[in-house]
């Protein structure tokens, strides 16, 4: 008779163990390459770090790194507020545009495949290095330069600003619209993956629901708000998270550039980590607010 080393497992237990086996790479990686470094980064934020050939030295400095970032560093406060505002400006614009574009690409028309191929193209063109070259490129400048009287992008947004102000729109709203218009290419480029997410959700809505609505005599408008919108709503949260994550590596994020420069250029590691913690704090705050705002309005289809 075979001797059983392992206790007999119920199917449930066995499946649970296999679950752990499958996600074990993540658990190991999380502890080794995320949790460990996170704890270290908290320590670094309160220490001065000097790297030597044989190891690194830590000197406890308390809140000095945070004080340095906020009081001494000439750029941090300005760049920090700018980046935060930029995220707040971009979030609604990207969400609205990608939702709109996904609905557009979900309709049937000639050349839809081509349009989709082009709309998702920005996914592969996200190189920060390319962006850095563009900003100093003379040809791009020449092409973007439009004489005032010719009515280029610049004057369009200017005259639109005047018009909106005449219509007695609140100033902050006008400002928002104008900045959003000027950032159209950036917003379109940042929307590629949110479009993918919305589009796949739109395609996942069972067509029987639409048929039902059509038979009952619902108009397109009603169908959109009563069926399409609620069923896609859980993905707004997904997309907001994605957009925020994407903004960390998006070229033109001046705060990230400043943090990198502090760490790798100026060698003040502690300060750069302190800056990142403040950045993360604001991001977390935004996410919590968004979550509180959306959580009740989101409709989950029963699985």
């Amino acid at each position: 008779m075979r001797i059983r080393f392992w206790p007999r497992l119920t199917l449930r237990r066995k499946r649970a163990i296999w679950g752990y086996v499958f996600i074990s790479p993540f658990i190991i990686g999380f502890i080794a390459f995320f949790l460990g470094p996170m704890v270290q980064s908290i320590i670094f934020a309160f220490n001065e770090l000097t790297i030597k050939a044989a190891g690194f030295n830590l000197t406890y400095v308390g809140w000095e790194n945070f004080r340095y970032a906020l009081r001494v560093d000439p750029d941090f406060v300005r760049v920090f507020t700018e980046t935060t505002i930029q995220i707040l400006v971009d979030l609604p614009a990207i969400i609205l545009f990608s939702f709109f574009a996904a609905n557009l690409l979900n309709q049937k028309f000639r050349g839809r495949w081509m349009a989709r191929v082009v709309f998702f193209l920005p996914v592969i063109l996200t190189a920060g290095i390319v962006y850095r070259f563009e900003s100093g490129d003379i040809l791009t400048e020449v092409l973007d330069y439009v004489p005032e009287e010719a009515g280029g992008v610049f004057s369009v947004s200017q005259s639109m600003m005047g018009l909106l102000l005449i219509l007695r729109m609140p100033t902050w709203f006008v400002q928002y619209i104008v900045t959003a218009v000027e950032r159209v290419p950036d917003i379109i480029n940042a929307s590629a993956i949110p479009i993918v997410v919305f589009l796949s959700a739109l395609q996942g809505i069972p067509s029987s629901l639409y048929e039902c609505a059509a038979i009952e005599g619902a108009t397109g408008w009603e169908t959109f708000w009563k069926i399409t919108f609620p069923l896609v709503s859980p993905l707004f949260l997904t997309n907001i998270i994605y957009i925020i994550v994407d903004s960390f590596t998006r070229p033109g994020n001046t705060l990230v550039e400043l943090i990198n420069d502090s760490a790798w250029g100026r060698g003040i590691y502690g300060v750069s980590v302190a800056m990142t913690w403040m950045y993360f704090g604001v991001i977390a705050l935004i996410l919590v607010l968004v979550f509180l705002l959306l959580a009740k309005r989101v409709v989950y289809m029963e699985e």
Binding site: R15, A16, I17, W18, G19, V21, F22, I23, P25, F26, I28, G29, F30, A32, F33, F34, P37, F44, L49, F56, A101, L104, F109, V117, V118, F119, L121, P122, V123, I124, L125, T126, A127, I129, V130, F133, D137, I138, L139, T140, L143, P185, I188, V196, V197, S200, A201, Q203, G204, L235, I241, Y242, F248, T249, N260, A263, W264, V273, F280, A284
Partner: protein
Amino acid sequence: MAAELGRKLEEMPEVRRKSRFLTSHFYGETLWALVRAILVAGICYIIIYPLLIKLSSSMMTENDMYDMLVKWIPRKLNYDSIVQNYSLLYGYMNYPKALFNSLILAATVALLQMISSALIGYGFARFDFFGKNLFFTLVILTLLVPPQMIMVPLFLNFRFFDFFGIMPVSVNLLGTYWPFILTSITGMGLRNGFFIYIMRQVFKGLPKSLEEAALVDGAGYLRTFATIMVPGAASAMLVVFLFAFVWQYNDYQFTRMYLSGSATFLPFALEQLTRTFDVEMYSKEYISILNNTGMIMFIAPLLLLYAFLQRYFIESIERTGIVG
């Protein structure tokens, strides 16, 4: 046929109102199709515009840059100058070697990330175990933390790598591919959490019956995964591969941190161009042409890859595979 029907309806007084509605509806549709076509074309133009600029610029000669009339199309398509632009860059960027290194690294990372996120995603999608939701929250958390937060500690960990003090002597893993390999197989690479999320959704969407049949017939869990689940999720896995490949190929910060900026990789080659141009004392205009040529050479492999894989990419969206 439709027109005939329309005329007949028009003749009947009681349907006249309705038929007018019908036609207005028709006009509405046509108008919308027109607006839609303009919108789609406009957005496509905005997306392709930077690419077109670079392409046209890379085919110009220096004289075209001074010519006020030339904006898009060079005055004369000069085969020699195009060859000259590209071959100059070919030498400056050490193109074959840089391209080879970048492709190999990106392919390795993408392959490992694809495998690890499929395994992890499958674990989250199909098994119930204690703390599953907590672990999944942690996956999302790894995404939400700015990578800069853990960059310095990661750098130090790989510089003095001793695996939590288990190894007696610390080794320097910087300058090797090990940091990439280790973070990729453990699902901690660049935006790996996003891939785990995608794979989890994909596996959740696959029917359970085939898998159960395989298990009942005595296949082990790993074998079931490899022979039943992976083929079912193949197109989504290709999409993950595409994403991971693209992000690694474009990545500058982590690659520089792990391998130092002097290594022969395309992003560094592109960056070092500025210094080369300063030495060569080219005119501002010619530098612009060469820069654009360099960027085209940087992007071209990605465009090629996208051209091959876009079919799977769009198919997997249509089959509601990805993030349903």
